[in-house]
Amino acid sequence: MPTIKFAHITDCHLGSWRSSRLRGLNLKAFEQAIQTSLSEKVDFILITGDFFDVNVPDLDPVKRAVEVLKSVRDQGVDVYLIYGSHDFSPNAVSMIDILHSAGLFIKPTENEVVEEKLRLKFVTDKKTGAKIVGLSGRAKNLDVPYYEIIDTPSLEAEPGFKIFLMHAPIAEVTPEALSFGEGVPISSLPKGFGYYGGGHLHKRLEYTTAEGGKIVYPGPLFGATFTDLEETARGEQRGFYIVTFAGGKLETRFVEVKVADIVYKTIDAENKTAKQTEAQLNSTIDELDPSGKVVLVKITGSLSAGKRSDIDFSKAERSLVSRGVLTQFISRSGLTSHETAELKVVGQTKEEIEFRVLKERIAKFSIDPTVKDLKVREALQAKFVSTKGEQTARSLLRTLKIEKLDNETVADFNSRVMSDSQPYLDPGNLGES
């Protein structure tokens, strides 16, 4: 068997970031990864989901992505891409579908259900003979149950060097901070594959299975959230993998993609006044050399006097801009004051805060003891108590958060919101989680 060399890129999240500079950096990271892959003369490129950040992204990054993918195709390098949870909507046409229709990549996810088993069909790379197959990701880990019904014997019987692509966390190897208990067990993966390429986890990860297969999550190319950039600033390398299979041996090499220096500073405002915190912020900013860098500042703690609005954050931002900062973030979500004492939870991201607020509120809910009807109690228990209540609230909130699409009428949008919310509000559905 000839040497097989390929690149594995994931979680590009093209189109993410409101800041045009960060959006540009993100795109640059993608271009750099592709360019390096081509320089390395890879036989093909794997992309394991979340290519775009949303199913219908802004057209600027789409245009650039199309140009890059087209140039890859024109150079005779095939791209094998599975969808990620951000890429598409099961109910509507997504941008990724259009790119696929244009033949810019190959989707190795063809399947059929035979006797309640999911039979996946290999795509054979015409240049190397590598057998590639995969499962696209879906929002809220809805793809995880599919792994239980994969017809693994048919995949395991296939000879040759095999690659399995997935956009789901593997339960046993997912780091604690990223684990939400919804992973795919290793035992659900088909055995005998040389390479299992993963996406979805925003952390680089390698693991060798008991049978010797390599599970690899490269992590995001650049990152799509403040937390991602924070991790990068703390030393988490971002990039992709170049993988070589020769003489029966598989070698993985991580290639770092660095498109900007990221500076990360924290300020502890606990028991400080607003003025003291502002002074510390300014002195911290003054000590930095922000030129050409991404600057992240996180302020946490409870102010002893004054309130957040007493702090002039714009002054610090102006200072950074005047000294050539690439882009800056001053995170103040963890900063509280007596005026905001009613806020009892602190989180790093809005999702985390939302999660904790719901958790706190729902923890105080219990079923009225006068409700004696067992069926009603069980139904309420299954829907509104404890973690089930949190799930219901989160699901409902998520549903209500959807935004009207550009070409959608108000009536269609209302109808979509109602239909998506219905399962969580329908009393007939009580008892289901």
Binding site: I149, S187, S366, K372
Partner: protein, 516 residues
Amino acid sequence: MSNPSTAGTCGEVIAGESSALLIRQKSDKQIEIGDLLVEDREDGYILLQVYDLMYGSQIPQVARELIAGMTLEGYGKGLELVEPNLRNYVLAVARAILRMTDAPHVPKILPATFGSVRNVQERDLSFLTRPVDSIHFGKVRSGSKILSLDVYLDGIEVFSHHILIPATTGRGKSNLVKVMIWSVLDKDYCGILILDPHNEYYGKNETLGLRNHPRAKDYLRYYSANPGKGALTLMINIRTIRPNHFNGIIEFSEPQREAMSVAYSKYKEKWIENIFSPKPELPNVQLGTIGVLQRKLGRVLGIDFDEDEQKVKFRTRVFTTEGGEATINDIIKALEESKKVIIDTSALEDQAELLIGSIVANDILNQHKWAKEQETLRSKPVVSIVIEEAPRVLGDQTLASGANIYSDIAREGRKFKIGLIAITQLTSVIPKTVLANMNTKIILGNELSTERRSIIESASQDLSSDDKNIASLDKGEAIISSNFTKFAVPIAIPLFDDVVKSSQQDIPKTKPRIVT
């Protein structure tokens, strides 16, 4: 077994005292040890339970011996007793276990002399209702007769106040636990951790198990070192282990404990790796102590130091530094989501099994303590931990060297909605103080008199006269003695396989729709 006879007198109370009432059996009826009998009264009834049987006769024993001899030796041709039913009979020894008036009470009166008694019927026990959050144990049993009356107890109370299941081998312990857990598997009020050293709860191949529950997909998690397809591989990252997790699991000397403490404060989560490094740097710790620690920890965790490669190697993939980082958290999260978690420890050594239980139990207890402080404990499910061969952690000898998380839970777990389901063949080696905290005992058959004595002494009801009753329990029969029952309830436990088969309904199968 037959159905209980319907109404009709089966005997009369003739003598005795409150703890030993003598009942003459009606000649065409058959009273058994363990039978529940009822003496009806104007204001209700008294419930009696038979615990012994003997012969009664109007004919002096010498005369009976002579009659038997004549029959045996061929002199008794044509020999017949006049009105034999009146002259020879069975006497049952019973005690009053409950008095029912407007509500059930502890009996404080005797049944009437010559008060007639009858077999108990379902309607007599209508006070045995089904609590909202219940556990199902089986059906009420009277002797060997099974009543069509299910026995449910309040799951939150029973789980948090601990369950002891004492029995010798082959009496149906795992069948009972499977039946219990099956009944609560999809209930949101409880999470259960099952440390399964025989890998008998989940089910495999053709053997039925909890995986066959219709809601298993949503409510059951299974970890195994050798998982079948779809099961989770048991992998625990050693960086999630803290020194106190070994309390009561491995015996350490004071210097060894101090060395572990030094390692933990210096290297935090990498303390174990450091102990196994070629040149461990632990201030004020002697090399000899480190050597012993390496040996003791290495045995439990399966760690060796490879001299040739100069690096730590893991004999199994259960304890590891690659992966398994979230396993403990995932287990805790599952329990807090009222799931039932089975950990197949059949491939592990005893101490490794107990260590895993200790890690989970520590964390869950801490979480519940925190929740209590935050006044959110009420919304959390009760969590119960099934531990086989309980004396390994709750025995006299083990506890003599110090408390462990299991004994802590036995002592104070109920305050934090955490309980144990302790299974043992040797109740006698568990200290009385621990047994006293086990407020529900499900007593299965036991042929060892010392063990029966321990069980009886620690029961929630007075079972002082039930020695023979316990000894005569067949497989599938049990007595529930609990602070949460009005009397020690004799039960018949269904066969787990029958429970599974009867629950297998035709769930419509939908063709999976895969979105790619």
